[in-house]
């Protein structure tokens, strides 16, 4: 009886983040990609426009989840600890110096997954709960 109660508490604690919308985020690619894992810096470089290619030289296509500002906000918060506004300002500044951002915008998590499945060199981010078998986690964002 006591053991059951302790287990319950443990489960509740483990699932607590889900219930608060603080879900873990994962950076994913299509299952068929040759890329295995990426470092945090590599993820940042790809998403912040430093590199447009993977370490192996393949061109990377960053997929932005434009339609889900909350998820997007959470992603950037976890990746570079910046607000979405700050990220937008960053891009706006670069725009003046003539640098063009090469990203693919998708409206929903489903669309992102669909795009990733079709493009093995595309890289995107989704909440861990939306992860399915067709995708490969190349980087896990957690605190």
């Amino acid at each position: 009886m006591r053991n059951v109660k302790g287990l319950l508490i443990l489960v509740l604690w483990l699932f607590a983040p889900l219930s608060w919308g603080q879900e873990d985020m994962v950076v994913v690619m299509s299952k068929g990609t040759p890329i295995q894992t990426l470092s945090k810096s590599e993820v940042i470089d790809i998403f912040m426009g430093k590199y447009t290619a993977f370490p192996n030289g393949e061109l990377a296509i960053a997929v932005e989840l434009s339609g889900e500002p909350e998820i997007r906000q959470l992603f950037y918060k976890k990746l570079i600890n910046r607000s979405l506004a700050s990220v937008n300002a960053y891009w706006a500044r670069l725009k003046f110096s003539g640098r063009k951002r090469s990203v693919v915008d998708q409206d929903s998590v489903g669309e992102v997954i669909a795009y990733l499945e079709k493009n093995p060199l595309a890289i995107g981010y989704i909440p861990i709960s939306s992860l399915n078998d067709s995708l490969k986690v190349v980087y896990r964002l957690n605190e």
Partner: protein, 528 residues
């Protein structure tokens, strides 16, 4: 202009000090300004870096050459920056003429997304020339203001010190310089200095002037008194009837009065520098004078004595003085002899005349008995041999009785005259009393005495004409002779001896025998 004048000195010191301090301060100011400027330029550079830091971070993170160039261009437009260089892992970009110095500042650049990820270096070299230029400009302005300030202060200090200190002192000094000691003139206290040190100084100066003028007046009065006193003394001294002479111990005459000159003239002498100590050269008995003075001085007394001078006056009279010699010692231990000579010649003369009168027989003008005795005592005292003739007149009593005393007197005068004719100058004639005479023949032997005696008798026996009676009278004489020192050695015994001899011969009543020597009489007596 007076080089030592207070104002000029003060001005020179103030100007030099201001100049020196100005130079030092402006140099110091330049250094400080330069360091400040340099420090502020470093701050500027840091601030500039902060301004561009986010952009440059992004630029280096992205290796964005365009953005990097833009940043460099932006930084280089600042005057304080000489050059800028940015290096990333793949790019190196710098401004034109960029060089690195020890003053260059390097800033590490981090990824805008990862604090620990270094993405490049920004190097900024400050524009030292510009900084120096600015420091110079600033300090130049400062120098100018310091110079202006120093000039104003200098002029103010000089003017103030001139007006407040130098001018009053100069005025006081000038006035004091013209003040004659002993007058009523005083130094006025300069305006606005009633309570300052200058006022105090002037007051003290005036007090000193007061004191000195009082002293001068007192001294003047004292001097007048002394002068008056000395005039009186001089008058007293000059007009003293007695000669007064002040000499040094060696005899040099220091001071003398008119009476002394008068005395010298009387003696027929000229004034000399010295007449010897105590003027001894004008005295007859110099040894007695010296002994007297030395004895008196030895007893701390003044010497006083009567002395005959060794020269007679020009009229031939002997000059006698009472000399008083006094030892005077001045305050500074100089010895002087004060010699006063009182003329006592007249008194001396009177005494001498009285003396002569007392010793002279008024009728015959021979010595009387008193005078004669003194003469004989003197010869005895001096041990001069002589023969004493005691002469007694014969037949004189009858003349006296018959013709009167006047006739007797005339006979006596006549006899005296005969005696004078018979003896030598040095022989002594005495009217012994009544019709007795004593004749002293000095330095004769018995024979000579006998000769002279015979001569005397023959002259006396000559007849004498009594004009009143118109008759010749003649007297005889009996003479007894005693010899000194052969017969007797004392006056009375000599007289007794002569008397005995004379009576012996008189008793014989023999006109042929009228002279007898005591020694012969003595022999006869002994023979009897």
């Amino acid at each position: 202009m007076n080089k030592s004048a207070l104002t000029l000195r003060l001005a020179i010191v103030v100007i030099f000090t201001a100049f020196a301090v100005g130079i030092i301060v402006s140099q110091l100011f330049f250094r400080i300004t330069y360091v400040d400027e340099f420090e502020s330029s470093r701050k500027n550079v840091s601030q500039l870096y902060k301004t561009v830091s986010s952009t440059v971070s992004i630029a280096t993170y992205l290796n964005d050459q365009e953005l990097i160039k833009e940043v460099i261009a932006g930084l280089i437009s600042n005057d304080v920056i000489q050059g800028v260089a940015i290096s990333t892992e793949s790019i190196y970009e710098s401004s034109e003429d960029f060089y690195q110095t020890k003053d260059s500042q390097a800033f590490k650049l981090y990824s805008p997304f990862e604090n620990s990820r270094e993405v490049g270096v920004l190097t900024i070299t400050p524009n030292l020339e510009y900084i120096e230029q600015r420091a110079l400009e600033i300090s130049k302005d400062n120098q100018l203001s310091i110079i202006i300030q120093a000039a104003i202060i200098t002029i103010t200090v000089i003017m103030v010190s001139f007006v407040i200190v130098a001018k009053p002192i100069t005025t006081v000094a000038r006035i004091l310089h013209s003040v004659k000691p002993g007058t009523e003139a005083r130094v006025p206290i300069p305006t606005y200095h009633q309570r300052s040190e200058i006022g105090l100084l002037v007051r003290d100066i005036n007090k000193l002037l007061d004191r000195s003028s009082k002293q001068i007046v007192e001294e003047r009065n004292l001097r007048q008194q002394v002068e008056q006193l000395s005039r009186h003394f001089k008058l007293l001294f000059e007009n003293a009837s007695s000669p007064i002479v002040l000499t040094e111990p060696n005899g040099n005459i220091v001071l003398y009065n008119k009476a002394f000159i008068g005395l010298l003239e009387r003696l027929g002498l000229n004034l000399q520098q010295s007449f010897g100590p105590f003027l001894k050269n004008i005295f007859e008995d110099q040894q007695r004078l010296i002994t007297l003075v030395e004895e008196a001085f030895g007893n701390d007394e003044m010497a006083s004595g009567e002395f005959k001078l060794n020269r007679s006056s020009t009229t031939g009279a002997a000059v006698w003085v009472q000399a008083i010699v006094n030892l005077a010692i001045t305050e500074d231990f100089h010895e002087f002899h004060q010699i006063t000579l009182h003329d006592i010649s007249q008194r001396r003369q009177q005494v001498e005349q009285l003396n002569i009168k007392a010793n002279t027989d008024a009728l015959t003008m021979l010595f009387n008995r008193r005078g004669g005795e003194a003469q004989i005592e003197k010869l005895i005292y001096e041990n001069i041999p002589f023969a004493m003739l005691l002469l007694d007149l014969n037949k004189f009593k009858q003349i006296n009785d018959v013709y009167g005393h006047d006739a007797g007197d005339k006979v006596l005068v006549y006899v005296a005259m005969q005696l004078k004719k018979s003896v030598r100058k040095n022989d002594v004639l005495i009217r012994w009393g009544g019709d007795e005479f004593v004749v002293i023949l000095t330095k004769v032997n018995a024979r000579q005495a006998s000769d002279i005696t015979n001569k005397i008798i023959s002259k006396i026996e000559k007849p004498y004409f009594l004009s009143n009676e118109n008759i010749d009278v003649n007297v005889g004489a009996s003479i007894g002779i005693s010899l000194f020192p052969d017969d007797e050695k004392h006056l009375s015994s000599l007289v007794q001896a002569a008397d005995k001899a004379m009576y012996a011969i008189k008793e014989k009543r023999d006109p042929a025998q009228s002279v007898a020597f005591y020694k012969d009489y003595n022999e006869q007596t002994n023979d009897n």
